[in-house]
Symmetry: C2
Subunit: 581 residues, 2 copies
């Protein structure tokens, strides 16, 4: 939740959380309150309940909330001393709130907000009275540990949403409904994109033929674009000797995300790679580079493995194995700004091609008060200036996020909103002074001396797997023509037209289109419906007259029947659709 | 060594081994003899020597061999009883020979071959006299354990070659010399194809930009060909739960080749995959298949890892990580023969495209006397008949190798000879009844009943990495136009022509050709020489007149200067060269 962005909504959601807590207090006497913040699109409240509660209880809780709202109770702020507040909350049997008081900085007042005969320890701000809360809905429950720690008690979290108008609420609930339908896990199965197998392992996707085709299309797009832009492809193993990761620091700093080691004989312990950087560094360091060779842009579609908690795995959003469209650029300090701009240009080009037009730019810089950062002030200033200059020179809006830099350098994130206005963090560009230092990388400068290059890590898709998850939901599985795993379904009207369909299919294949013939002995209507269900963008129906005239009858998703075209005309049309921006 | 194929050469090499042993006996009194067989292109003899011997000693050993050859000593066969032979050899201080007698089957005679005052326990046959041995040469030494076991003493093995004529010997020595120059490990480094890194690990190649380009070209070729032939691409993780490999039997039967396990919490132990079959089986089993869906041909360029002994790793010939152009076909028994033929057709098409025209076909069938094979006699008969029928229907020669089948099914190997007439075992097709059984795979037949499919494993390249090793040596790094990582080098005569060169380069890129501009401030002759050293097949030189006329001056490797062409003409020409068979 971006607090500054929308104060009114913030207050509505914050107060709705109080309204929920008041209603729960009325219905479940003895409940202990934990915390209840506003969040993006809504709010939640965590309760330690005297009896279990489920979504079946929402109706009566909402009724009680509406009852208090109708009473239009004023929300009144009051202050107590730290000690008074603790005694009061202890007497009320609210141990979590007592604990929370200790978190409030000394210089801050201890404030309460009261509505009717109910009050909550709270910093505010809030709406003036409960009458302002008309457009809310409880959504679902979840378990949540007190203070997020497994060592503490599991509380019941109730999620809700609240808006300023009924129209906004309806719109949001529609989007939620739509999001459920678009769930990439459901569509991924229905469209035959990917599967999981317990015998392979949790969070390890197996890409089915249509999903593999989609991957290939994205990879080919990026490979082609990268070759055009002077990237050099490399291919590296999925494992590396433990030594490599001790040198890179990953074994120490990234240990919890690394799969259990493969421990062989002495000096023969292998790590399943969590990232591609150390391998690319070995390639950079394989020869002495001159400033004339830089920037060196090594690119790999590298599959990496991270040992995420099984409980945190969700579809393609959090997996244990995924493919990075990874590249590491080795640049001189003078090249940093231009190269950064060139990277952003590729990332924006990519988003445009993917039809993701709604995004914002976040520049993560260091927090000058924190001492976790390595490298000289001068380097940090130069790198942050290079990023900001490059963004500004492209005329882009951006926001600065202080403290969001990695310990080894500043970065830029692209936050993408999909068709349902949900935000996904996608591509990242990261400046790195640390790894070149650790691996003592060098190049010979124009002065004949050895210098240290700067590394840029970048991935326009980020994770290929996650990007496909996003695209599935963004398009609800109905991919644009160029991306669709199957672009064309050929539907011969009768058995005697199957041969002709196969001929047309082969001509389409040679022309570079992905087509398949559905020559099953089923009613044409059924076959058309199935192609629609599979979200195939184009259908070509063909019968006697088509064979005679060398034509096909073209139906395009969203446009309907476009009439008979010769095969040449159809191919030309497909070419336009494929290349359309 | 194929004994039957060339008896005369077999005898020459066998007798040359005796000649070597006689000479060593003369020069190193007290030497103990082990074994000395003829092998492909030569022979060796293993000695337990009283003092060390190196290649520096070859000259005087060869002189002694020639001395005995000039004496034209007759090789005379004689027989002894088993006991007499043992006593004689023990008295001569030849313990290895005494051991060897125990290996000779009871029904076989114990024979010796004598030449002058030297004799060897030997089955023969041999040339009539040492005068027939004129064209031989000792090559190198190696350590070899007695009976190949590390538990026994390390002996000194001397390798040599012997031929029927001086011309044959010279030709062979030239080929050896040429092979050294073509060594893919040396050329791989010189041409910037791949590297190894101790910090990544032995036997784990890192593919440099030009090598990655070569891989991409091969992969694109195969992907395209496979799509045309109805294969379905899939992508699977590089690890799998231990359960998967217990079910497949690999953990038991293939244990020594598997990397150390990644042992996580209970039920969370992972295996770095040594092959792709179990993953593809999970995909097949993900839905109920009908006979109408079969054959299902799942294809993946799957990188697999095998924990070979570090001592056995050699360049790309024996690595620990490599990429299979792997596919698993699930077929009905009725489809087996047709599908097998279709696979062979793809393999031959592939070899032709790669310019490998010299190969032989070996069909591995079961040894009826051995009981290691699983599955019914009926299935074995049907599968072996299907393989042989499909080979014969393609009009191909083949040889049957009894006992060369895997325990789970018969197979076909393609043995490829490269330009230096060395044989490489490349593609394999393998019929498998075992894995469908273990994983209880099914399809619904035309009769509505569940049936078990048969699997075919196949890989036309075999290992992509090994295939590139072979191609580097076959072509001595000078790849045909379609395969060359860099196809065209653009050489602007002077600085002022660099802009034009870059324009032409971009037009070539758009047309699908891999070109780079060498605009360095170096003499043109030097830049041309370097492009030649890098085996770039085409150079385009350009100056003032070319800019004026929109032309380039084309030089093709092996053809020299082809004169000025317009860029369109050059592109058309390149298209012809690329598509040329």
């Amino acid at each position: 939740m971006n607090e500054g962005a929308n104060d009114a909504l913030y207050k509505v959601r914050h107060s709705a959380a109080h309204l929920l807590a008041q209603a729960v207090g009325e219905l479940y006497p003895g409940v202990k309150y934990a915390i209840g913040p506003p969040i993006e699109d809504g709010f939640y409240y965590d309760f330690d309940l005297p009896e279990p509660l489920g979504e079946g209880d929402f109706e009566r809780i909402e009724a009680k909330m509406r009852e208090f709202a109708t009473q239009d109770l004023a929300l009144e702020r009051s202050e107590l001393s730290r000690e008074e507040a603790k005694v009061l909350l202890a007497n009320l049997g609210q141990p979590y709130k007592v604990e929370l008081i200790d978190d409030i900085p000394d210089e801050e007042a201890i404030s309460f907000y009261r509505q009717g005969d109910w009050a909550d320890l709270c910093r505010g701000p809030h709406v003036p009275s409960t009458g302002h809360l008309k457009h809310f809905k409880l959504l679902h429950t979840a378990g949540a540990y007190w203070r997020g720690s497994e060592k503490n008690k599991m509380l019941t979290r109730i999620y809700g949403t609240a808006w300023e108008s009924q129209a906004d609420l309806d719109d949001y609930l529609n989007r939620l409904e739509e999001a459920k339908k678009r769930d990439h896990r459901v569509l991924g199965r229905e469209l035959g994109l990917f599967m999981f197998s317990q015998d392979v392992g949790a969070g390890l996707p197996l890409w089915l033929p249509k999903g593999a085709m989609l991957r290939d299309t994205l990879v080919d797009f990026m490979k082609n674009e990268q070759l055009k832009r002077g990237y050099l492809p490399v291919v590296t193993p999925h494992i590396g000797n433990k030594r490599l990761y001790m040198k890179s620091g990953h074994l120490k700093n990234y240990n919890t995300k690394i799969f259990p080691l493969m421990e062989g004989s002495e000096d023969e312990t292998y790590v399943l790679k969590p990232m591609n950087c150390p391998h690319h560094i070995m390639i950079y360091a394989n020869e002495l580079r001159s400033y004339r060779d830089l920037p060196v842009r090594l690119a790999e579609f590298g599959t990496v493995y991270r040992y995420e908690q099984t409980g945190e795995l969700t579809g393609m959003l959090r997996v244990r194995g995924f493919t990075h469209d990874d590249s590491h650029l080795f640049v001189t300090p003078e090249q940093l700004e231009d190269e950064f701009r060139y990277v952003i240009d590729l990332m924006l080009f990519t988003l445009k091609r993917l039809g993701l037009h709604d995004y914002r730019v976040r520049v993560g810089v260091r927090d000058p008060k924190d001492d976790k950062y390595i490298g000289s002030d001068e380097n940090w200033e130069a790198a942050q200036r290079a990023i900001i200059n490059s963004v500004e020179s492209l005329g882009m809006d951006y926001e600065i996020s202080v403290g969001d830099a990695a310990f080894y350098g500043p970065k830029l994130d692209l936050m993408v909103r999909d068709a349902l206005r949900r935000e996904w963090q996608m591509g990242t560009v990261q400046v790195d002074y640390n790894l070149p230092e650790r691996f003592e990388l060098e190049y010979v400068g124009e002065d004949g001396q050895r210098h240290r290059p700067i590394m840029i890590h970048r991935a326009p898709f980020g994770s290929l797997d996650r990007m496909i998850g996003l695209l599935v939901e963004h398009y609800a599985g109905a991919f644009p023509f160029w991306l669709a795993p199957q672009q064309v379904s050929l539907i011969p009207i009768a058995d005697r037209h199957v041969g002709y369909a196969k001929e047309v299919q082969e001509r389409l294949r040679v022309a570079g289109f992905r087509a398949a013939t559905d020559g099953r002995n089923e009613k044409m209507g059924k076959r058309i419906r199935e192609a629609e269900m599979q979200k195939v963008p184009v259908m070509l129906v063909m019968g006697d007259r088509d064979i005679e005239n060398g034509t096909v009858s073209v139906r395009r998703r969203g446009e309907g029947d476009l009439g008979a075209k010769t095969v040449e005309e159809a191919i030309a049309l497909f070419g336009e659709w494929r290349d359309a921006p």
